[in-house]
Symmetry: C2
Subunit: 872 residues, 2 copies
């Protein structure tokens, strides 16, 4: 028979999978001989079993619970429901990973109409006993039956009014007795049942509530945000109550072994005498700092300091501890590795290494790579933020904070930026034409689109703060107004955006620049020693490339040439190329673009030194470049010297039912090889220019959207012919290679054939995910919410590589590619390249590098190092 319930002293403190974080650490503390109230842990397996059994706790589990309960009662010398000396417990959830989205604690379980009298007698403190009981009824009703706390608060308020008092503390024991009767009546009215007077029934009810809470909407959302699988389940900890509210020699508090905000090595915490845990949070009395305890109870203080130091040494990490003092005796209720700011995380990791407590490798594993984001973007001033009230919330699409006046179009943003104004660009959704406006805006806010919409992807690439898909916005572009919940904002109003939380503020909030401390560099250096994979950046401009280098990128993994096409001085030539009806016309337009592209590449090569630069050839469907309004089309027709009707019909012929699956990527180069030739010329000539300046650049030409080896073979032949001709004519040789994106499922499936013509593979996991799932990321917003709600998806496949589907294709692609060409260089350049769990997967399947937006390079560097350490 499986053992589902363990006394703290029986449990394996290393096994968080089975006992959850809280249970495992209680077991550890018990074994260390620390003063931990007795108790037991119901395992995560019991939770899983509960769901398997159709949300029913099996009898054998209930039997085991009562077995353990009896043992604990015996040790405590008390009994559940005893009218003389009642045994009371707390019930707490405790998953493998800390999950603040889950249920609250239930304290004082075991109190009944009878046992409360025993507690009163025993403590000689009826007010205390009845206060415990009314708290318990309130908590139990809330947590177990979902009866909101506010019902009870209303009753308390009414009673206080009746009694003419203002504070809870002013209610007497008799008042509380009266209140308890009202609470129980309310309970009966709302649930149709009496408030349970059998402590065992209370206990099983509480355990089931914890199990249930594993699947409440908050928990599901939290799990999705933190990539926690739904299959893990939560453990339940049942622990003998100790009371911080038994008078002036009792108290309760929390403390950290180091400052969680700064990482400084000082005992940091606060406590409140004569209080239970919830009072500390309630904020009615101001807690004391932990130092104050030294003055009032030096013995307990010294004991606590010693324990906390031992715990830090034992767990080799900063600890977050809860304790209670009951009538002068210290009890430890919980310890765990403390949450901390990114800044503190880095400092603590470095300090622990310096103190000899951990190795560099262990230090690297202690930092959550995604947290580094905080350090790489401007943030709101913490003081200013406290006073601010958000007016709307969208998707946290690109981190950082931004503040500026509202600009409703990209042109407006550019113009006002040129006049020295700071603006935030507000759009229904963005399109490639908005690029320049996005570049000058402090932040971007859109009403539509998800975390992988155009706005989000481009903003992350630029390191620009972005809140996307904020459905509450009603934007009137022509009247230049923005309406949020009946309030109208204009170009004169300030907006502040938090791209890390998705919150939107209709006021000015000051920002502070990114803080990259010295310890940060140390961590990066250690990571560099450990990691196997290279880290590159996705960068389209010299400025981005420079930024990427500063963050440690070792080359460019994706330079999207089309982003260069939208600049005002180029778009005309681009459009001429698109509406050309003959190859000659097209070549004429391309000839105008050539010098500009060449100049772009020279700039990017300069920024990258001799690091490799992967240049992706023109990818988007051509209609993305043509104007969409009649007015603009008329102007273009005039400029091009053709009649409007002709232009209109050309533009119409470019429209597609499913542009994502349309005439784009290498398909463009196959129809119009002259485009590939022009781009090759620009790449190679720029490299020659740099070579003559003494820099030996290594351009890597990347052909997008290949699905069949012959596509690559054809385009590559054009590239090679063009490159060789130029190099021969110039008398200079350049080290260039030609590879392909693997972003179409068929490319992965036929990678052995494709590898014959490819010098490298780069997995374009954005498109690969779209096609493997058959999802258009632009359209998925309309149903993905239902998918999360109905537990069909646990995480967003556009953020985190779907390992069993998309990942399987990647693995196949790498294996087949290297079967043809052993050692074939393989990388990733999709958005996933900056996601730590995806980086780990890339390491596992043997990729040579990951490439991500410049602002995620440090994250990828750390994640790549962690991947190596975890694989060991």
């Amino acid at each position: 028979m499986t053992k589902f319930v363990y006394l703290f002293e029986e449990a394996d403190g290393k096994n968080k999978e089975l006992f959850g974080g809280k249970g495992a650490n209680l077991a550890e503390m018990t074994k260390l001989g620390l003063p931990v109230p007795e108790g037991f842990t119901i395992t995560t397996e019991a939770c899983t079993r509960y769901y398997q059994d159709g949300q029913k706790i099996a009898d054998e589990i209930i039997d085991q619970i009562f077995d353990c309960l009896e043992k604990v009662e015996k040790k405590a010398g008390k009994k559940f429901g005893d009218p003389e000396n009642p045994f009371l417990v707390s019930v707490r959830s405790g998953a493998r990973a800390s999950m603040p989205g889950m249920m609250d604690t239930i304290l004082n379980l075991g109190l009944t109409d009878i046992s409360v009298q025993g507690l009163a007698k025993l403590t000689q403190n009826p007010r205390f006993a009845y206060d415990c009981y009314r708290r318990f009824i309130q908590m139990y009703s809330d947590v177990v039956t979902g009866l909101g706390k506010s019902y009870f608060e209303d009753l308390i308020d009414k009673l206080k009014e009746k009694k003419g008092v203002t504070l809870d503390i002013e209610l007497t024991a008799d008042d509380l007795k009266e209140l308890i009767e009202e609470f129980k009546a309310l309970y009966k009215e709302k649930t149709g049942r009496e408030f349970p007077q059998d402590p065992r029934e209370q206990l099983i009810g509480a355990v089931e509530a914890v199990f249930k809470s594993w699947d409440n909407p908050r928990a599901i959302t939290y799990r999705r945000m933190h990539n926690i699988p739904g299959s893990w389940g939560t453990a339940v900890n049942v622990q003998s109550m100790v009371f911080g509210n038994m008078g002036e020699t009792s108290g309760t508090g929390v403390a950290f072994t180091r400052d969680p905000a700064t990482g400084k090595k000082v005992l940091y915490g606060e406590y409140l005498m004569n209080a239970q845990g919830e009072d500390v949070v309630a904020g009615i009395r101001t807690p004391q700092t932990i130092d104050h305890l030294k003055e009032t109870n030096e013995e307990v203080y010294n004991q606590f300091v010693e324990i906390s130091q031992n715990l830090e040494k034992y767990f080799k990490d900063m600890q977050d501890m809860e304790f209670t003092i009951e009538r002068g005796k210290l009890y430890m209720l919980q310890t765990r590795n403390g949450k901390r700011t990114a800044h503190a995380a880095i400092k603590i990791a470095c300090d622990l290494v310096e103190e000899g407590l951990i190795t560099k490798e262990e230090a690297l594993l202690k930092i959550d790579p995604t947290q580094l984001d905080e350090l790489l973007h401007p943030q709101f001033d913490a003081q200013a933020l406290k006073k601010a009230k958000p007016v709307a919330v969208g998707l946290a699409a690109s981190p950082g904070a931004a503040c500026g006046k509202i600009a409703f179009t990209a042109e407006e943003a550019v113009e006002r930026h040129n006049n020295g104004e700071e603006v935030v660009l507000v759009r229904l959704e963005t399109s490639p034409e908005d690029i320049e406006g996005m570049a000058v805006a402090k932040g971007i806010l859109t009403a539509r689109g998800g975390r992988t919409s155009h706005a989000a992807v481009v903003a992350r690439g630029m390191g620009r703060c972005c809140v996307a898909g904020c459905g509450e916005l009603i934007i009137n572009e022509s009247e230049k107004t923005l309406k949020i919940k009946d309030k109208v904002y204009t170009s004169d109003d300030f907006l502040s955006l938090d791209g890390s939380t998705g919150l939107v503020y209709a006021e000015k909030i000051d920002t502070v620049p990114a803080q990259v401390s010295g310890d940060f560099g140390k961590i990066m250096a250690w990571a560099n020693e450990v990691r196997r994979m290279k880290v590159r950046a996705n960068a389209d401009t010299p400025a981005d490339a420079k930024q990427a280098r500063e963050f440690g990128a070792e080359g460019i993994g994706l330079c999207r040439t089309e982003h260069m096409f939208f600049a005002e001085d180029r778009i005309t030539a681009v459009r001429e190329m698109i509406i050309a009806r003959t190859e000659a016309q097209r070549e004429k337009a391309l000839a105008k673009l050539l010098p500009m592209q060449r100049e772009d590449f020279v700039g990017i090569y300069e920024a990258m030194g001799e690091y490799p630069v992967t240049i992706r050839f023109l990818d988007p469907p051509l209609h993305e470049f043509v104007p969409h309004t009649e007015k603009e089309q008329k102007a273009l027709a005039k400029e091009m010297g053709i009649c409007f009707e002709e232009l209109e019909s050309i533009i119409k012929s470019l429209q597609e039912f499913n542009p994502m699956l349309g005439h784009r990527g290498c398909r463009l180069s196959i129809t119009y090889p002259e485009i590939a030739r022009m781009q090759t010329q620009a790449v190679i000539e720029a490299a020659i220019i740099r070579k003559r300046q003494g820099s030996n650049v290594k351009p890597e030409i990347m052909i997008p959207l290949v699905g069949d080896a012959k596509e690559l073979e054809y385009v590559k032949a054009e590239v090679v012919k063009t490159a060789e001709n130029i190099m021969e004519a110039e008398g200079v040789r350049v080290d260039y290679t030609v590879g392909t994106m693997i972003e179409v499922p068929r490319a992965a499936l036929t990678a052995d054939e494709i590898a014959k013509h490819a010098d490298f593979f780069s997995f374009g996991t954005n498109d690969l995910t779209q096609m493997t799932y058959g999802f258009s990321r632009d359209d998925a917003g309309s149903y993905l919410d239902d998918y999360y709600k109905k537990k069909i998806f646990e995480s967003d496949p556009f953020q985190r590589v779907d390992q069993i589907g998309v990942g399987r294709l990647m693995k196949t692609g790498v294996e087949l590619g290297r079967k043809t060409k052993p050692g074939l260089k393989c990388g990733i350049c999709g958005e996933h390249g900056g996601d730590p769990s995806s980086v780990e997967f890339c390491n596992e399947i043997g990729l040579d590098y990951v490439s991500c937006s410049p602002f995620r390079v440090p994250i990828a560097i750390l994640a790549a190092a962690q991947a190596v350490l975890k694989q060991k």
Copy 2:
């Protein structure tokens, strides 16, 4: 060293891969001791090598050619270029499969200014000799240098005018000499070189021309149409010339051992005395039927009859033979299995079995399944067609012939059909709203869209003739005019369409109904004995289901429920459902649809008896059902009792960037489970009705577009709950199953997970192909032409399963699915289910059934039988 050139007696007549069809059969005839002029075959490997070497014939191959030439010269006792007794040859291409798109024959090669005199002397017939020479110059110039025949014809005409004669035959030897000089001068003028006077140079030039012809545009197109790989290459046959034009005792002809039009067992053919092959074709003199030879030269006739009978017995098939009589002696120049009509193919196959020449299995392999199409659709009256002239050509999208007056909208088609008119529906492109119009039209003609466009797919499903993507049409719907090459047609004009060739006629051409002879049934019966896979039909209506049963379908593999939604009496309820804002509103609309759906299913079950019926739940994006013009939208708003602006905004919110990858398939049922519930109710209640009538139907509910096991799990739970409730309430149990389409790449990749919840898999290879390639079939038209031209694609992946990409996913899907559930029923319901090569592939990977449109059921049945036979 590889042997590239073989004498006829050295070659292996069974090895068509190496020697091509013509070469292999010449070898066979030589070995049978038939009178075959001496010669040799240059292998297909030499052709492949030619392309590998960058279109150059390797020296070793040239050496081998001249070696063999010498041997043949020796046997003939003649020499190349000999002024006394010159050796002349013919040069013919001969690929593995017969390819009429390739180069013509070159006759009389070896003639030069000198050797022509030898020929004249030897034959005592200078006119003959010079006629041979001028023919040779003409052919050689055309085939080898691409100098069109018309240049030479002009010169002949001028000479005839000058000489005052009207027939070629009236030109004297001296006239021809004069002509030859003019020919050679023309050759020099156009090519810059003298006409080659070295027969060896002529020979190598001709061989290279044959190799080159393998890759001319006609050949590429032909290969694509007939699925012949470009890697095969062609062989070249060089054969000693015999002359049918050496006087009145010489002649040349072609004959079949059976009538290729009817299959009747009679020697069938024609010949012409004193002529070379091309004269027979030229039509200047009327050839004699082969019977006539019996009267004029009974000995040769008897010899030919004996040979032809022996050849048929030897090759066990109807033979198509070429022969020449030189001065009374018979020579066999070629034999091959003759092309025949579908009707003849079936009769011959049955007769050969009856004659004991072949087994039933061999008979099945002799019939090209795609050819059966001819028998299953109406055709144009052959006599009437001869006089007709096409005015445009589009894609042959759905076979058969149709004739009717032009209808410009679906409504018009319905109205005029109801008035007894026969109409052809002409549309820019069709949409689901046109369904009713398509159903009543005799044929469908569209200006846009490919072979897998909506029009094509639906037309094939209905067995309706369709010509799609006819770019020459200029349609003005509002004025109801159709313009083709400056001629305008109106509703009063007739159009005739040939869906098998894509030709469009602007006149009335009578059609004749499909002919299904008794032998057809015999072949089907034999196929049924042999095949392992079941064959089902894709049918959405009782009428289609009935048709499918008549053609032998063993169930319905795909019943698309949405097609039932477009009928006039339903679309309003469908639209109400779509624009519903609450679940209650939606359920109200669904309640209106329920009885109609139930009735549909009862009808389909009735038509199918107790065969299984697979019903796919609602699949297309909802915006396909809403009206697209403002007028219709306004009418709908009024009908729905909401304001136009609200309706407009709802319709707008339904629009998607990539509808193909949007909110459709099972995603609809996840957002609106009430739709799945209504459809389940209709399926189960209809089955209960039939069960009470004594018919034990087996509905198979199929959930579309599943990409993740949890999607299926969720929808299936809704289906099962609904079905069980109904069956319990009604007290009747129905044998139903729930399965899924595998049409998203991820479904195939995670088929082991999905199989846990699926009773069957059905591969939706249309969508699977789109997503695996990242092609939208609606948009691919704009670039696929370039793909064929540039030899990137050899066949259309929407017609023929792409075995290395899409096929690999299918194989993975079957294997993973059966790993979880051994014996899991797997089928295919994409368009590919009716394509013989795809059917063969499905058999190979172990599918249990294929499903295709009713009119392709016999094709699939035969192909499924052939697959088993080929696998043996």
